[in-house]
């Protein structure tokens, strides 16, 4: 089922990058403004970066068992 989704999204993604070549106008110029498909790259890298960052933070530092705070309570 997930493969079917991919068959739709990949051509659409390619289409958007091609359109980006011709249609985009930038009222303010940034370093990335001239790169066609920059936001595609940003999307996929940003997504993987966020997942990686979150999972690393969780695994090595921040994630605890659910009773972490309640463990020492007398009344529960």
């Amino acid at each position: 089922m997930m493969r079917k989704w991919l068959l739709i999204t990949v051509p659409v993604a390619v289409l958007f990058i091609i359109l980006d070549l011709f249609l985009a106008e930038h009222h303010v110029h940034f370093l990335w403004s001239g790169i066609p498909g920059f936001f595609s790259l940003f999307g996929v890298i940003g997504c993987l970066l966020l997942i990686g960052l979150a999972m690393a933070l969780g695994a090595y530092w921040l994630q605890r068992e659910e009773d972490y705070y309640e463990r020492d309570d007398d009344d529960s």
Partner: protein, 586 residues
Amino acid sequence: MTIHNLPPAFIIIGGALLLILLPRKARPYAYLLFPVLAFALLLSLEQGATLTVPFLNYELVLCRVDRLSMAFAYVFVIMCFLGGVYGFHVKDLLQQVASLLYVGSSLGVVFAGDLVTLIVYWELMAVSSVCLVWARRTPEARKAGYRYILVHVFGGSVLMAGILLHMQQTGSIAFTHFGASIASYLIMVSFCLNAAVPPLNGWLPDAYPEGTVTGSVFLSAFTTKVAVYALARGFAGFEILMWAGAIMAVYGVVFAFLSNDGRRLLAYHIISQVGYMVCGVGIGTAVAINGATAHAFAHILYKGLLFMGIGTVLYATGTAKLDHLGGLVGRMKWALVFFMVGAFSISGVPLFSGFVSKSMVIFAAEEGHLAAVVLLLNLASVGTFLSIGLKLPYFTWFSKETDIKPQPVPLNMYIGMALTSALCIAIGVYPSLLYNILPNVPVHYQPYSATHLLETMQLLIFTFLGFWLVLDKIHMHATITLDTDWFYRRPSRFAYYAFSVSICNLFGHIERLALLAVKVTVEASTNPPGYLVQASRELRGIFTGSEDLRREPDTFNPDRYRISLGLMAFVVLLSLVILMFWYFFV
């Protein structure tokens, strides 16, 4: 006081008090009447109108009408109505009264023209909102509520300190744009606490997931957005807010991704979305303030909708934990549909409300040539779609098959969600509905440009691809994520020992010592010679090491050592004789 300057808070707060007197059956209907009345009042308020009353040496401005107040007031009243529809089935008077008071005090803040009126409503907001957490009546909610109210009491104290210092320095209590001074920074800190700017954010993801199903819908809408309003009024253009906002937008999405509780995930996205608004306030240009206001407006609706959607799941299944949920698509289809409208709105999908509001803040950052801010905000957009558009619905309605049998959900909950969804789409399709009420008109911003559409679609599609790539690696476990609330939750245990347990133990020891002293005194004074003999036996026993001496002998009889009556009589007579001799002969 006329209909042109009557504070709308009076209607809602008056309604809350009236509700107590009404019969149970009439309450949900009456509840819906008050926001309708308040909305009618909003339409009749005049720009620039004020209502002042003298108070000590100052003038209190109970109502000050301008475009910024009005934009927030409209959405507060609309959300009150939608929340009322969603919570129509609720019979709990506490929740009904508390939520109306909460909305009323929020309205009070946005129309408050002076700092004294502001802080009164500010505190009322904290008190009424905590009732929406406590109304869930679970031990977790009780504890989270206590932490919530303590944090907000702290924030209120900082605000009070700031206001008093400000009054002393400037002699004015007017609530307008502040200059840079210690007093105004104190006020800013308390506003930032309510806006959940990290590191002052711990209370939000702690308390909001513990609220009642309908209560959290209200919680998600008001406290943080009132704080955004207050920041926009007092601190527009403070650069520190711009950076704080951009960072908190990303902070929220990172923590949201780790959350296992669906409502906690949404709560972290409040932090992230409020980050856009705080950032817009920090940029401070006309378009940025417009963007922050527009985003607050859109955000209240779609975040309410998301909390309604996941609240429906919680209501039907009894849990919002992602590791328990899954496979609900066939059983709770409409909840998914409405949830996805909220999810597309928050992700900024074209034709949904987030697209026309969020982009305005990013546009303001672009105009200011703030490359880092633009990238951070876009990264937060990626994370938002990732967690709310993909992860949360995937693990709730798809992923694994479960044998959860959802119980039927009241129709009014679906009607509430349908109305909210309609508004989210309406704003996305006709942005001018929203743009016409923004503080700085006319609005020269067109969200549906080819460039913006292309950028957004690329961002969203490739986020989807990224998620699809690593989907196998993402598993939900029953865990919690430490946040800045650790700093007062974990040490509280040690504080408890230091200030309560250890002092109790000390008192216990002293009490035991006192009782021992009493026992010894009583024993020694009832039979002094017997006690002395026994004590000397024990002492000898200790020094010689003989067990026999230390142990009380079987034949021990206290009366043996007790002074006999004859001896006493003899001593008394002898004393008498000596006394007589002394009297007569000396």
